[in-house]
Amino acid sequence: MSDFLKGSLSSSTSPADMAVKKEQIMNSVRQEIALINAQELMNKSTDRCFSKCVTKPGSSLSNSEQTCIGNCMDRYFEAFNIVSRTYTSRARTARLEAQ
């Protein structure tokens, strides 16, 4: 995953190459963080929605279970956004007050 750690700059690196290399590092860090974030969201919502919607596991997922899981995922993402918004605005207020 961390290709940029292996790659070293050759002695003939021009400033332009260096800028490209820098951008590559930044992008792979951003991508990796976004991936971890998405995985975390998937794991947590699967966990919560499974326990909410599949109370008595049968031989397959029933239609009502599937509907419940779909709704549950949508609500979980929405909940994440509400929490994120509330937390961020509170953090911002605290930072402004600290200044």
Binding site: S11, K21, I33, K52, C68, A79, F80, I82, V83, Y87
Partner: protein, 89 residues
């Protein structure tokens, strides 16, 4: 092997610091989401939140942060009192 120039190194260090702080905030938001979900979403999920669930989620975050601040303040007070009565340092 050539390294990044000093300015670029500095820029990358700042960038990583910021990304790290953001990742930490994200991890807190994930924890808060599950905690508040368990507290606030009691019924079967439908196409929209039930009455009060949305405000419960927002309140949950605010009160958690209040709780955290409250506890820090309380510990500080107890330490001050202990120092005042000469029991502890």
């Amino acid at each position: 092997m050539e390294k990044f120039d000093e300015a670029t190194q500095k820029e990358l260090a700042t960038f990583l610091e910021r990304e790290q702080a953001q990742a930490k905030a994200h991890s807190t938001i994930h924890t808060l989401t599950t905690m508040c979900w368990d507290k606030c979403i009691t019924g079967t999920p439908s196409t929209r939140f039930a009455r009060g669930e949305e405000s419960c989620l927002a309140n949950c975050v605010e009160r958690f942060l209040d709780t955290s601040l409250f506890m820090v303040k309380r510990i500080e007070q107890q330490r001050e009192q202990a120092a005042f009565s000469g029991v502890g340092a």
